[in-house]
């Protein structure tokens, strides 16, 4: 929680500790709004899963569990590296910070690459709701499309958050490499909070989308 000796304290704060507290509270307030943003989709998911469990099981079986598992592992690893980055920033280890931030961004990109590859497979399988939906694959084609609407929307919203995170982290890595003050310990830590939050969203998305009713491997 301590700042490095060279940390800059903005004029409105008494000291670095107060600044750190204010920044942290602000980020958590923002994360609360993000929880409600995703929360709305999770609430919709919950309602429809209760009503159409069989259709949800059917839909879930058409997702690629191995890809989802790999992505979960990638994200957990990226949260680990992000935590290391925050430590490096606090200790003032600039070169390590750049390397670790770059690694975190790379892991985020890896997640998005796997997701993109998975989306391509999904589209080819015909599980995009709408005119090209392969209704013949399912016992409950109308209801299973609700599952897939939620799948596409929730993973796309999550992927968008990931992309923003990757850009911010990559930007921080560049700033840190140039020795710019933008990559201060506070900034890295708050970026970390955002990144961990996006990880937590996926931690819940994975079982809810991929593991309904004993997935087929």
């Amino acid at each position: 929680m301590a700042e490095t000796e060279t940390a800059h304290v903005a004029h409105q704060f008494d000291d670095g500790e107060q600044q750190h507290e204010a920044v942290t509270l602000g980020m958590w307030a923002f994360l609360a709004t993000e929880i409600m943003l995703f929360g709305g989709l999770f609430a919709g998911y919950t309602v429809f899963r209760i009503q159409y469990f069989e259709a949800f099981r059917e839909g879930s079986h058409h997702l690629y569990v191995w890809l989802g598992t790999a992505n979960t592992a990638i994200l957990l690893l990226s949260s680990f590296t992000m935590a290391l980055a925050v430590s490096a920033a606090e200790k003032g280890h600039r070169r390590a910070l750049v390397a670790i931030l770059a690694t975190t961004a790379a892991l985020g990109l890896a997640f998005l690459t796997v997701k993109g590859f998975e989306y391509r497979l999904d589209i080819h399988d015909g599980i995009v709701p709408g005119p090209h939906f392969e209704a013949a694959l399912f016992d409950h084609p109308a209801e299973v499309q609700i599952f897939f609407v939620l799948y596409w929307l929730m993973t796309a919203l999550h992927a968008t958050h990931m992309l923003i995170g990757v850009c911010v982290i990559a930007g921080l890595a560049v700033q840190a490499a140039r020795g710019r003050p933008a990559a201060r310990a506070n900034t890295v830590e708050m970026t970390g909070l955002y990144w961990h939050f996006v990880d937590i969203v996926w931690i819940f998305l994975f079982p809810l989308l991929y593991l309904v009713g004993e997935p087929r491997w």
Binding site: L25, A32, G40, A43, I50, A73, S87, L211, E214
Partner: protein
């Protein structure tokens, strides 16, 4: 300052829970599958929040802010479910 060793331990715990998820899936738990999967997910999320997000070493006020998001989500899900789960009662 959090040590690298501590951070690595947290990662190990998370990966172990991910492995547990896969074991749970293969175990054919039937109706228990949902609460077990969500329980494991909740454990992972709590570990990320407490250790990676530093909630464990944060001030009381920070914990209130962190808990606020969780509170409102609980209200959203809880009150919505109280409607749908009780529809068969009348």
């Amino acid at each position: 300052m959090v040590s690298t060793a501590r951070t690595s331990l947290v990662l190990l715990a998370l990966m172990a829970l991910l492995a547990l998820t896969l074991v749970a899936v293969l175990a054919h738990l039937g109706p228990w599958e949902t609460p077990v999967n969500l329980g494991i997910a909740g454990a992972k999320a709590a570990i990320v929040a407490l250790w990676f997000m530093h909630v464990r070493r944060s001030s009381a006020l920070t914990r209130v802010f962190a808990g606020a998001g969780l509170l409102w989500l609980t209200l959203l899900l809880g009150l919505t479910l109280s409607d749908y789960l009780s529809r068969g009662w009348m």
